[in-house]
């Protein structure tokens, strides 16, 4: 992924979060603190609206006392990091072989129809971004999608209706226990 320059007003971690970040950095040996970078980027994404702006990446570089380019090259390499704003909830639908065998094509088509947006797009109300993803490690429980820390598995059209309704009402839908 190439780096798109999208600006956002600079935000900083809360004092509590900063303590967490510093504790994380302290876990690594002297001079090896760059190892904390990826985790801090995940935290920044969580705290600053679900994506990493140039300002955020520069801020993380300052915290770690490394060059900004060192943050950019990592943020652009790993596909989990969003480098542009997304909807409130990002649905990442797995489409690799094992999920395809159990109907992910139909799930993708249904989501696009239901949310009236194509894969890669965000709904007009800014609630949902649809994305495809490569194997998420849920092959035996497909078709599936990931939304934040939640895996939604064994998807059917009815189940998708429930999940969307639940997110719309502000409740993270519960997963069925295996």
């Amino acid at each position: 992924m190439s780096l798109k320059i999208i600006h956002q007003e600079r935000q900083e971690f809360s004092a509590e979060r900063m303590a967490e970040v510093q504790a994380l950095i302290a876990q690594y040996p002297e001079g090896k603190h760059k190892s904390a970078l990826m985790r801090i980027l995940h935290m920044a994404e969580e705290d600053f609206g679900g994506w990493l702006s140039v300002e955020t990446m520069n801020y993380v570089a300052e915290i770690l006392n490394i060059q900004a380019i060192e943050v950019y090259e990592v943020a652009t390499f790993y596909t989990m990091f969003n480098l542009e704003p997304t909807g409130k909830y990002v649905f990442e639908v797995c489409r690799t072989g094992p999920c395809m065998l159990v109907g992910s094509d139909n799930i993708i088509a249904y989501l696009e129809e239901k949310l009236e947006v194509k894969m890669g797009g965000t709904t007009a109300d800014g609630m949902f971004t649809l994305k495809t993803a490569e194997c998420l490690g849920a092959c035996g429980y497909g078709p599936m999608l990931q939304c934040g820390k939640q895996y939604h598995e064994h998807l059917t059209k009815d189940r998708i209706d429930e999940i969307i309704a639940s997110y719309r009402s502000g409740v993270v839908p519960k997963e069925i226990a295996r």
Binding site: S35, H42, L101, C135
Partner: protein, 447 residues
């Protein structure tokens, strides 16, 4: 023959907590190793067990451990590879989700064996909720004196940390994993030097899969010789199999190596056959990187003997008529599935996941994806099929890490066994577009 060693007590409520895990015999191996065994003794037991790396390569774990350099005054590191990303594989996730302490216990004993005082579990970023589970379990282990300074009064110190990835299949390759853990892009390193000599931060490092580390627990508890009695021949022990695709009961199963493939697919204890009363068309037994097998070579070898769930039996016949156990990602196709479409999804996966460092892989995986996309969508030519083989040859063996090979082999195998289906997509462009299905093979070739 279903045998639970790694997943023992996975159905006990609360087994993810320290207290319940401990009550069911958890952390015995730590007591035994730290109080009665030298680190070298533990390494010897693992060597005797015949344990082979469970991440996919199948390299003997004890031998890998014996390569670790031990220069005076230089820290050594044990890294657990929990970057499970091979399509078709979801076993480590199951183990970590259900019995996180099993992995932590294995990490403590293995770190003791290797003389590592700081160890890391590198977990794929998408498994963020499992990172939470692991950190909670690690905090419990610290609170109970199984991690930290002077564990059980043995004088052995260990700090255990978890680090997340960011969504990159390549970080399952051990040198890419190390790069990533150092906070860099996951570009694999040239070997040598091997991680055993120069790994994390230039220090001697061992990288082992989750399941391999978990297997050290029963090996220490019961002894390497006892462990080696489980399984068949050089495929010792049990193996976690992630079963997916068109099965009645997909999921994670712990099997004793040596059961027949037939029993695994159709047996009541396992997958219970093909879903919707359909027939078996093909199977990829070891994750997306291993060769696909057509139905007649799944349950039997080309010689007509029973195919077994072992490293050796699944590889019997070489690439001509065999495959590999790999990571145990067992993907099953029913008679309606399209091999071309599946091969395309895998090619797309590898093109997406190539780190871009080596031209043959970066360009080759992209070309393969394009050509397969064409074929799948009825716009290919017969020459395209041979072109794929050509691209394959140019990737194979020409890259720093095995991702290129992993991308090339499944395409070659799909064409080898299902060429007529690729040709059908060329000769029936419209029909191949009307439905998702591939060429329906004659019933006689299905099982």
């Amino acid at each position: 023959m279903s045998r639970k060693i790694l997943l023992e007590h996975d159905d006990v409520p609360g087994i993810e907590t320290f207290d319940v895990y401990r009550k069911h015999g958890g952390y015995r191996s730590v007591e035994k190793a730290l109080k009665t065994m030298s680190p070298q003794n533990v390494v010897e037991e693992v060597q005797k067990s015949g344990l082979r790396g469970r991440g996919g390569a199948g390299f003997p774990t004890g031998m890998k451990w014996s390569f670790l350099a031990k220069p005076e005054g230089v820290p050594r590191y044990l890294l657990c590879n929990a970057d499970e990303s091979e399509p078709g594989t979801f076993k480590d996730r199951y183990l970590m989700e259900k019995i996180p302490h099993r992995l932590i216990e294995g990490m403590i004993v293995s770190s003791y064996a290797l003389g590592a005082n700081t160890s890391y579990i590198y977990i794929r970023g998408e498994y963020m909720w499992i990172l939470d589970i692991l950190e909670k379990a690690i905090a419990e282990a610290y609170a109970n004196g199984f991690l930290g300074k002077n564990i059980l009064g043995s004088g052995f110190d260990l700090d255990l940390r978890v680090a997340p990835g960011g969504g990159a299949y390549i970080c399952g390759e051990e040198t890419a994993l190390i790069e990533s853990l150092e906070g860099k892009r996951g570009n694999p390193r040239l070997k040598p030097p091997f991680p055993a000599v120069k790994g994390l931060w230039g220090c001697p490092t061992v990288v082992n899969n989750v399941e391999s580390i978990a297997a050290v627990v029963p090996i220490v508890n019961d002894g390497g010789d006892e462990y080696a009695k489980i399984g068949l021949g050089k495929s010792t022990g049990t193996k976690l199999i992630s079963a997916s695709g068109n099965l009645v009961r997909p999921g994670v199963y712990e099997i004793e190596m040596g059961i027949t493939v037939e029993e695994f697919i159709y047996g009541d204890q396992y997958c219970r056959g093909i879903a919707n009363n359909k027939k078996l068309k093909a199977c990829i037994p070891g994750g997306s990187s291993v060769p696909i097998l057509p139905a007649h070579l799944v349950t039997k070898t080309a010689e007509g003997t029973d195919r077994l769930m072992t490293y050796e039996s699944l590889a019997e016949g070489g690439f001509a008529s065999g495959s590999m156990l790999g990571s145990g990602g067992f993907i099953v196709f029913d008679e309606d599935q399209c091999i071309v479409r599946n091969t395309w999804t895998f090619a797309r996966f590898y093109a997406h996941e190539s780190c871009g460092q080596c031209s043959p892989c970066r360009e080759g995986t992209g070309w393969m994806e394009k050509v397969l996309n064409r074929l799948e969508h009825g716009q290919g030519t017969l020459e395209d099929i041979d072109l794929l083989a050509e691209i394959n040859k140019k990737i194979e063996g020409n890259t720093i890490c095995p991702l290129g090979d992993a991308a090339a082999w499944p395409v070659a195998a799909a064409i080898r066994h299902f060429r007529e289906e690729f040709e059908w997509h060329v000769t029936h462009p419209e029909e191949s577009q009307k439905r998702n299905y591939g060429l329906v093979l004659p019933k006689s070739t299905l099982v």
